[in-house]
């Protein structure tokens, strides 16, 4: 990882891009100025904040003075699924949520969101109760004396690192699937409440059939719905609403170590597992397929290029999190242009001036392009550049797609 502040020279970013372009997926870029503001907001001193940074995936912490724990991932789209099924989980056939009603009981989008808020709060309560039990187990049975020597104030407090001895104690809950939940809510708002293209009964029927026999509806939900990642407020405002609901449910609530709970938005790999325990969803996604990762748009739905993704992703307030994760993908030919480093540097700096926490660039390989031929609906965002001209991969004829795959295979990095 590299940390980039407003003081970092362009040359440093260019060096990082030398490595990024190899397709290694590293280094990822972190916003120093945002990290410090996040830590200050959490109550760290300026000195401790400046000594802090990010570790693990993207999570923020004050190095050497803080005990910050990631206590588990929170499946935001699953909350939606429970909300439209009266709290009943069709997969495990158990009543796990509140009985807030069925989809067709929600006469307005606001009714739906109110129920979603109650469900989410209820599930976060369970999560926090569980966290406290686990944390007490750590405190009682798993002391870490050596670590306690190294983290400030454990000695002064006469308390172990695992019992709240550190100067700062934070318990993070990671929200997963922001792009997916946003698209689900947006699709329902658009097709059911605003345009009335479909009724809730029709939608529920299609979801229960995994869209078999409802392909036209699935198509409309994928191709004719506003989507998160396109700088379209119609969709993005739902990301903000979900973010605020999740934040309100978690932020500032006591943990068992004398610290508080905070949110961050990172999935590690749980977006795959969380998708596998979720049926079909009204963003057009078939049952058991992965969710969006981090705060990135769902795969393939961002159709306006990277600036629009950055605009969408910066509408949530990163400074009130302990880290967010944004992935962007580019084809390797993109880096051939002699000005590409300047453009990418400008992209990073723009995102960071909008208080974005982290951005990572992945370079597409030939295997990805072959997959795009098989599943074009998941690669609607994929732009390839050939000889001074760029176009959507999906819009090219098959022979030209094959030509680009051959070129990508032979790309020397």
């Amino acid at each position: 990882m590299v940390q980039i502040s407003k003081k970092t020279p362009d040359q440093f970013i260019h060096k990082a891009l030398d490595i990024i372009r190899t397709g290694f997926g590293q280094p990822s870029c972190f916003n120093t100025d945002a990290i410090i503001q996040e830590l200050l907001r959490q109550g760290k001193s300026l000195v401790d904040a400046r000594n802090g940074g990010c570790s693990g995936c993207v999570e923020t912490g004050a190095f050497g003075t803080e005990s910050y724990w990631l206590t588990g991932y929170f499946n935001l789209p699953k909350v939606f699924e429970l909300t439209i099924n009266n709290g009943y989980d069709t997969l495990t056939q158990e009543q796990v949520g509140l009985k807030t009603g069925y989809a067709s009981d929600y006469k307005s989008f606001k009714d739906l969101m109110d129920a979603f808020r109650h469900q989410l709060r209820y599930l976060v309560d369970i999560k926090i109760r569980g966290n406290n039990i686990i944390e007490k187990t750590f405190a009682n049975y798993l002391p870490v004396p050596f670590l306690s020597l190294l983290v400030e104030d454990c000695i002064v407090n006469g308390k172990d690192y695992n019992s709240g001895g550190a100067r700062y104690n934070t318990t993070y809950i990671q929200g997963v699937g922001l792009g997916s939940i946003t698209d689900m809510l947006t699709s329902v708002k658009y097709h059911v409440y605003d345009k009335k293209n479909y009724t809730w009964d029709e939608v529920i029927k299609a979801l229960n059939c995994d869209f078999d026999g409802f392909e036209q509806m699935q198509y409309d939900m994928i191709f004719s719905s506003p989507k998160y990642g396109n700088d379209d407020d119609y969709a993005d405002q739902n990301a903000v609403v979900v973010f605020e609901i999740f934040y309100d449910a978690v932020n500032g609530r006591a943990d068992s170590r004398g610290g508080v709970h905070r949110i961050n938005m990172l999935p590690t790999t749980s977006h795959v597992y969380f998708g596998s325990v979720l049926g079909a969803t009204p963003d057009g996604r078939k049952a058991h397929l992965p969710l969006s990762e981090g705060i990135s748009p769902f795969q393939g739905v961002d159709r306006q290029g990277p600036t629009s993704v950055i605009k969408s992703a910066s509408k949530i307030d990163h400074l009130r999190t302990g880290g967010t994760l944004l992935n962007q993908k580019f084809s390797p030919q993109f880096f051939e242009d002699e000005d590409s480093y300047d453009h990418l540097t400008a992209l990073i700096r723009s995102y960071f001036s909008l208080d974005g926490h982290h951005i990572q660039f992945n370079v597409v390989n030939a295997e990805t392009l072959k997959d795009a031929q098989k599943h074009p609906e998941l690669y609607r965002d994929l732009i390839v550049r050939v000889a001074g001209y760029s176009d959507y991969f999906n819009d090219l004829g098959e022979d030209l797609q094959n030509e680009i795959i051959r070129r990508t295979e032979h790309e020397i990095v």
């Binding site: 198509y219 191709f223 290029g305 400008a346 992209l347 000889a387 001074g388 760029s390 004829g397």
Partner: protein, 266 residues
């Protein structure tokens, strides 16, 4: 006043310096055989069939190519991108089609872009009246000027129009002191023979070229051919090969040898 635009590209990075927004304006008096935006030729909105796929299954829907925008709409899009434009020293580019075809609208919208602090560029074939070019000059920070062929007959055969007007307007821009880039499509068998390349060099790098910012050599490619099928326009370039990477590098070296910045592609 409204203009008709067939595509808006955010994060446009091949149409002038920095990160830009490019508006592709509909209607073009030329009909170049190699055109990769043939949907931009006609002056009216047209309806095409858009085919999307989910896995193997195809879905067809009617899509309108060419939508009406007024100046307010254009500025709203630019405002969304302002942070990137400022950070990268980018701006707005009007392309097409041929933007000069919608001259009154172009004049109004470029005036507004200037007033709102955006760097303005125009990607033009040069095929318009000199009077119009004189009027648009003060509003255009950068011209991306296409030069395709110096021989009138060849020009007429492959683009549908003669080139006197174009070459006159080019001289007018060179004399004006505005910044410009020259874009040359490299089309094998049409304009890439050594004699013509040498004459192009003499014409472009003649007595005066201190405001020439770059030469863009645009290799002919067949990516556009799928559009011809989609828009049901006959494609005449099926037998023409794309220029080799080696050939493009040689041409770049040739023009670079005269001290001008040359880029393959936009």
């Amino acid at each position: 006043m409204k203009g008709i635009i067939f595509s808006v590209k955010r994060y446009a990075i091949h149409d002038g310096p920095g990160i830009r927004v490019t508006f592709f304006m509909k209607g073009c008096p030329l009909s170049c055989w190699w055109c990769h935006n043939p949907e931009g030729r006609s002056y009216e909105p047209s309806t095409v069939e858009q085919i999307d796929r989910i896995g193997e299954k195809e879905f067809r829907k009617k899509e309108i190519v060419g939508k009406f925008y007024d100046t307010k709409d254009i500025l709203a899009i630019l405002e969304k991108e302002r942070i990137f434009i400022n950070q990268s020293k980018g701006g707005v580019t009007f392309s097409g089609g041929e933007p000069m075809i919608q001259f009154d609208f172009l004049l109004e919208v470029m005036q507004s872009c200037k007033e709102n602090g955006f760097h303005t560029a125009m990607d033009t074939s040069g095929y318009s009246t000199s009077e119009s070019f004189n009027k648009i000059l003060p509003l255009t920070d950068l011209f991306l000027f296409d030069i395709k062929h110096l021989d009138n007959l060849k020009h007429k055969e492959f683009t549908g129009v003669p080139n006197e007007l174009i070459l006159n307007n080019f001289n007018l821009i060179v004399e004006s002191g505005n910044d410009y880039m020259v874009r040359i499509p490299i089309v094998p068998g049409f304009n890439d023979d050594p004699d013509h390349i040498s004459r192009l060099k003499n014409f472009i790098l003649g007595e005066k070229h201190e405001n020439l910012k770059m030469i863009n050599l645009l290799p002919f490619h067949k990516i556009g051919s799928s559009k011809y099928k989609k828009f049901n326009i006959p494609y005449k370039m099926g037998n023409v090969e794309e220029p080799s990477t080696q050939k493009m590098k040689e041409l770049k070296a040739f023009f670079s040898g005269y001290g001008v910045r040359v880029k393959i592609g936009g």
